[in-house]
Amino acid sequence: MHYDIVIIGGGPAGLAAALASKEHGADRVLIVERDKELGGILNQCIHNGFGLHTFGEELTGPEYAARYIKKVKEAGIPYLLNTMVIDISCRDMGSDRKAGSSGFEISLMNRTDGLFQIEAGAVILAMGCRERPRGALNIPGYRPAGIYSAGTAQHFVNVEGRMPGKEVVILGSGDIGLIMARRMTLEGATVKVVAELMPYSGGLKRNIVQCLDDFGIPLKLSHTVVDIDGKERVKGVTLAKVDEHLKPIPGTEEYIPCDTLLLSVGLIPENELSMKLGVTLSPVTSGPVVDESLETNIPGVFACGNVLHVHDLVDYVSREAMTAGENAAAYMKGELKHDGKQIEIKPDYGVRYTVPSFLDPHRMPEELTVRFRVSESFSQVKLCVYYDDVLIKATKKRIMAPGEMEKIKLKKAELSKYHDLKQIRIAIEREGA
């Protein structure tokens, strides 16, 4: 079976990308989803706060997903469920896996059809991300039952209707940890404390208030878990304060009896398939390096959503995915050619990374959104954009935090005035600097 565009992942990114590619003229589009339904992680995000930017309403995760699923069905876009992509390679390059201008061969597997191959002219990577486990943090102690990543706990509570614990300690104050603090409490558990390694919380203020303050759950900043007790099931954890180098301070240990430890300690884009293709990944985001069209180093392979970089707002995921879908369709129509000119988009002081990492000034849209995250919390600073060494724009920012994705817009008309432009630099500068 041959398809113009195969989208790997039927979550919010995959759904929006599929719709956009169809709307922009792609003929045969297919979504491949490993779960039993479309919607991705939104299916277990039963809290609200989604869609304010997209629909002007606050929806729950499943409701946001349903809007897109309805559109996908109305557009007649086919999708495979319970289907895992187990291999992907560029066609006709043998085992070298070099750039696939002849399209891609995808191996899939599901119970009904067994193991089978399909071909795609272009591929959109939308596989989302996974959670960092306890082992990645090397937290010392026993290895009992009762240690879960916040997402796994969320699945148990919201999809299976089961509680993973009764007396809970949560490590990590990112949004998932905060949301689960509320969730567990509402379903009858006691959340004793949320510990956060950094001196600030990674989550939205709204979640601090509505998930912790509302329930009297204490938040301990600059704290981490240094030991896990309990041979078969968690019996307790030991918290300790950390210093400015994030190292535990001896003497500050505190034992907290509990039967559950939830970990909300980082999301990692799920790029196993991307690696099989030979897609270049960014060591900072662990997601593919992409250009202004969200195309990776392999022509015809695009990326969007959490697999590209971890997002905070699903609305931005949908927008980013629409760009990927639109460009994949253009690619299939032969309208997305490189002329070789590339301008580097460089994250400078205070900026951890940007997506995209570079742009083709002829290919870019009239207005290109560059998304980025700052590397630490800033207040009263200037967001500066340089074209080579010339300061183009300095915007006053009262507050910027790593947990809130930011964006700037670059105008094609502006850029075309600078013929020899090599680099666009984004930096955070202090007032008066």
Partner: protein, 118 residues
């Protein structure tokens, strides 16, 4: 006179608001914009929260369905809402938007399903 501190959640600034209630007057300081003032007053006088939860379903597809209150319920009624949902068991099929319980905890607000369950 009663003084209270709270963090505004309207935007990432997270202004530290200080409210002072004297007789029937509420004064708000620390806000950088009018939204903060509105938020503080609402939080003091009538704080409301949308409650999202799960309700048991008899279905081959899933054991629970996600639900939400259609509007914010008074904050102090959250636990009572949950207790009322605890005793409900629905029969599939359930449709997103369908009312699962009218007038939850006497608030006049309905709880609806947020997902289709076959």
């Amino acid at each position: 006179m009663e003084k209270k501190e709270m963090i505004c959640i309207c935007c990432p600034l997270g202004c530290r608001l200080i409210t002072v209630v004297e007789d029937d007057n509420i004064s708000v300081t620390g806000n950088s914009c009018p939204r903060g003032k509105t938020y503080a007053i609402t939080e003091l006088t009538d704080p409301r929260r949308i409650v999202t939860s799960t309700v048991r379903v008899r279905s081959c597809d899933a054991p629970v369905v996600s639900v939400k209150t259609k509007e914010g319920v008074p904050k102090h009624k959250m636990q009572e809402c949950i207790r009322e949902l605890a005793v409900i068991e629905l029969q599939a099929p359930v449709y997103a938007g369908e009312v699962v319980k009218e007038n939850i905890a006497g608030t006049g607000i309905a709880v609806v399903a947020t997902k289709d369950i076959a």
